[in-house]
Amino acid sequence: MAQATSKKLAESEIDAATDARTLAQSHFRTLRLGTPFQPRIDALGLKQDWYNWAGYRAPHSLWDEELEYFAIRSQAALFDISPMTKYRIEGPDAEAYLDRVTLRDVTKLKPGRVHYTAWCDDEGFVLDDGTLFRLSPTRFRLCSQERHLPWLLDSAIGYEVRVEEETEAVAGLALQGPTSFAILRDAGFAGIERLKVFDLAEFAHDGGTVTISRTGFTGDLGYELFVTTDKALSLWDRLMAAGELRGTRAIGYTALNRARLEAGLIVANADFTTSEHAIRTDRLRMPDEIGLGFMIDPDKGHFNGRRAILEARSKKKLRHVLVGLEIEGNIPAEHAIVYYRKSQEVGLVSAAMWSPMAKRNIALASLQRPYGDTIVDDLWVEIYAMRELQYQKLMKKAKVVPRPFIKLDRRTANPPADF
């Protein structure tokens, strides 16, 4: 009798394993996954204008990209960041480990804080940039554009630390814009006013918790919220309900991409090529060559790429520089070639727009040093503006300017203003 029961049990276990396998195999029928928020986004995505974000079906725009952009700047925008790659890094050596892997000094990152950082291979070339969340003294979350599990695991040898990829297990939302604080407060996240820029804290939500950080990719007042996937829809609904009168609008990437450019932020594999994707080796970039030199702390001890980076600095081997440009006129200079004295090719614009906030024609460009570094005068961009099947070729003056292109006091004001 007991034997028969255990046999039956074993059989049901096998059945369960087979079912799980069948389910896992079935992914080939859905090339683009939905995120945990997809039911809400599908309902609002009237344009059906999707793109592939790391294997997920993500919206370029849901309804109207202009209105979506202005939601970021004048009201509040809700952007689904679930497809972002997320790693959970935990253990007694987590701090020391991350200090070795990433550029910035992790010992200075206190629990409950977030910093923007980057990490390099042994040759000092940037593998990716991302945000590092310190959830507790021994627990971190690393968010990035690309995937790095082999690199992170190989680097963990010798450290008492566990690295786990948790992209699909954690849903993420960015709530950005002047009314974002008021929405969170009205939604009942008590104490949200205490979060300063780059602070994070846990709040109760739907029988569980949500991690909210005062971070974002817009240069505006804003927050990012992370929650287990089963609490995703209730979180969305809670924010939407609280934001009804404060103009909350779900947005797609086109609007966000404008806001990030105004904020002067770079995007991996758009403004620079990450080291594990660069087929052509002259496309590799060191942090100093893409404006991330500020992250390097030569005094913090060893980190991946340190020797190569310091040698390139001391031997003046840095060949590129990423700069912000202000270009005359109002025609965006997307992917335009940058010239010195209108004739010598010295670089390329990777992102450009006419900024509604700055009321300027702005761009990010990678230039070959010394241009953009010590020689910043007499730079020009050649814009090919296609107008009804004719190119209007424009040679416009470009001025190197500091980033961000816009600075909003509300982003850092404490407590945040009640818009």
Binding site: H27, F28, E276
Partner: protein, 539 residues
């Protein structure tokens, strides 16, 4: 008596490519083929009513787009149907599939290892970097490093510059890549058996080496440089079987005025005063030609078709030592219905792609151990596909043609020739492997063609049945292929050229040797090559 401008021995794809280019340059060209059909190892044959077999080569990807363009092959009927990925079945009833979509590919790997799934990008970057380095060399005549001719120096300089253009790290990787085993190379990126087995397949196909033998990493590269109509790395079925490639070539050749004689086996090359004057057929008939170009492999050409006395000793010794070892066989099967694979979901695209049953490098190496011992592999490695899932022209409605490339099969069994009983045992090793994954498979078989190295050599004329006319190991590539000092398609005999896969850049249905040889011949004749469009890089 008529003397042709050029006689091409062998109507395989390289012979036909070569003949087409020469004919289009204004030469009067004759192709002599021993079989009653053209195609060599790129043929489609109806051996049982209603079924067409791609009975040697079975997929198309490496064939050079410049050749398709110059010889107007689409106009003459060539269509290549690309297919999705493929799969390795695992012994525990699962499978690992390859999908063309990058994210589906990653998710599939995640089922076996999250780490390996994310290692693919770096692997892919490194292999692509190596392809970008080697690929432009395919369509160029390899330089002769012992020569001081300006052209050879120029080519050496080109090679040197390409090499010097690499960073120290890349140079190290390149040298390692050319000499490493595929197993060691994959260990640098992956940790999971089935994932490594999945990639290792391309490193051993057609090669008398195991996945742990040095030099097999390069063989993988050779298989990565293909495309279908501009889609890099894609593989496809030629509609109507691989014979469609040579059928289109033959049609193009004839349309430009060329002549083909089938059923005309060459006994030897006619040589007078150290110069080729034509060929003598098996029946004794003499055909005269100003030039003779051999599509046969280098051993068959110089050890069977040319009198040894005409050749320098060192050349002869090197030809004898050229590695052209038989390592594979082929089983072509006519099926009365589509086989089922319970491990696969019924709507899986894998049914239309290549299927494998060897889920570890260890098993591949054990299969190779059998080859070393002079036996066919008890647990062979199969590259199996059912082209009729995408090409209905090859079988009657509802019925299917299955192509099984089988490795390893030695050229001799325990030192003696293959017998029909051996061949039966070899076939059984294949059928029983498939039947393990496809219940009822045996009952679906209506006809079977079993080809061991013995049959391939006898029919196609490939020495030992080696599909590449010589191993693609680095000691036999570039200016060392087939013999140092004779890597530029010429031979010690005046007027006798080589154009088969024994020459640079090697085997596969690529056509590059045939085209490169034509360029050299036209150079010797001081004829223009304007009809040869410049080669471009695919990647």
């Amino acid at each position: 008596m008529k003397a042709w401008d050029a006689i091409v021995i062998g109507g395989g794809h390289n012979g036909l490519v070569n003949a087409c280019y020469l004919q289009r340059a204004g030469l009067d060209v004759l192709v002599v083929e021993k079989n009653d059909w053209v195609g060599g190892a790129a043929t489609s044959r109806e051996l049982t009513p209603g079924f067409l077999y791609s009975n040697c080569s079975y997929v198309c990807s490496l064939f050079r787009p410049e050749i398709m363009r110059d010889l107007e092959l689409p106009r003459f009927g060539l269509q290549v149907i690309s297919y999705e990925g493929g799969a390795v079945f695992t012994r525990d009833g699962d499978y690992l599939a390859n999908y063309r979509d990058h994210d589906a590919h990653r998710r599939e790997f995640t089922r076996f290892s999250k780490r390996d799934a994310e290692a693919y990008d770096r692997y892919s970057r490194d292999v692509t970097r190596q392809c970008r380095f080697i690929q432009p060399l395919l369509m160029r005549t390899a330089p002769d490093p012992t020569s001081f001719k300006p052209r050879d120096l120029g080519e050496l300089l080109y090679l040197g510059k390409k090499f010097a253009g690499l960073s120290a790290e890349e140079m190290a990787l390149t040298l390692r890549f050319w000499t490493m085993s595929i197993a060691d190379f994959l260990d640098e990126y992956f940790e999971t058996d089935v994932i490594k087995a999945n990639f290792a397949l391309s490193g051993i196909i057609g090669t008398a080496l195991g996945p742990m033998s040095p030099g097999t990493a390069y063989v993988l590269l050779h298989h990565y440089m293909g495309e279908v109509d501009g889609s890099v790395g894609a593989w496809g079925y030629a509609r109507g079987g691989m014979g469609a490639v040579t059928k289109a070539l033959a049609a193009s050749f004839k349309a430009s005025g060329g002549t083909i004689r089938t059923g005309a086996e060459v006994d030897h090359v006619l040589i007078r005063n150290g110069k080729a004057k034509g060929v003598v057929l098996a029946g004794g008939e003499e055909i005269y030609g100003k030039l003779v170009i051999s599509n046969a492999d280098v051993k068959r050409t110089f050890l069977k078709l040319v009198d040894e006395k005409e050749l320098p000793d060192i050349f002869l010794r090197r030809v004898r030592n050229f590695k052209i070892r038989g390592s594979s066989g082929k089983v072509n099967i006519a099926l009365d219905s589509l086989p089922e694979f319970p491990a696969l979901p019924k709507d899986s695209p894998v049914y239309r792609a290549d299927m494998h049953f060897t889920d570890s490098i260890e098993r591949m190496e054990r299969a190779y151990d059998d080859w070393k011992a002079g036996r066919w592999s008890a647990d062979p490695f199969l590259d199996m596909m059912i082209p009729t899932t995408l090409d209905p022209t090859m079988a009657p409605p509802g019925k299917h043609f299955m192509s099984c490339f089988v490795q390893y099969a030695p050229p001799k069994i325990d030192g003696r020739d293959w017998t029909d009983t051996d061949r039966g045992g070899f076939a059984e090793s294949v059928i029983s492997q498939i039947a393990q994954y496809s219940p009822g498979f045996r009952n679906r078989i209506v006809h079977m063609e079993v080809r061991t190295p013995r049959e391939i050599e006898a029919e196609v004329g490939l020495t030992e049945g080696n599909i590449f006319q010589g191993e693609l190991t680095f000691d036999q590539l570039l200016f060392n292929r087939p013999v140092p000092g004779y890597a530029q398609y010429r031979s010690p005999v005046g007027g006798l050229y080589m154009c088969g896969s024994s020459t640079h850049p090697g085997g596969g249905v690529m056509g590059a040797p045939g085209r490169n040889a034509a360029a050299e011949i036209l150079r010797d004749l001081a004829k223009p090559t304007l009809h040869m469009s410049p080669a471009h890089d695919v990647i």
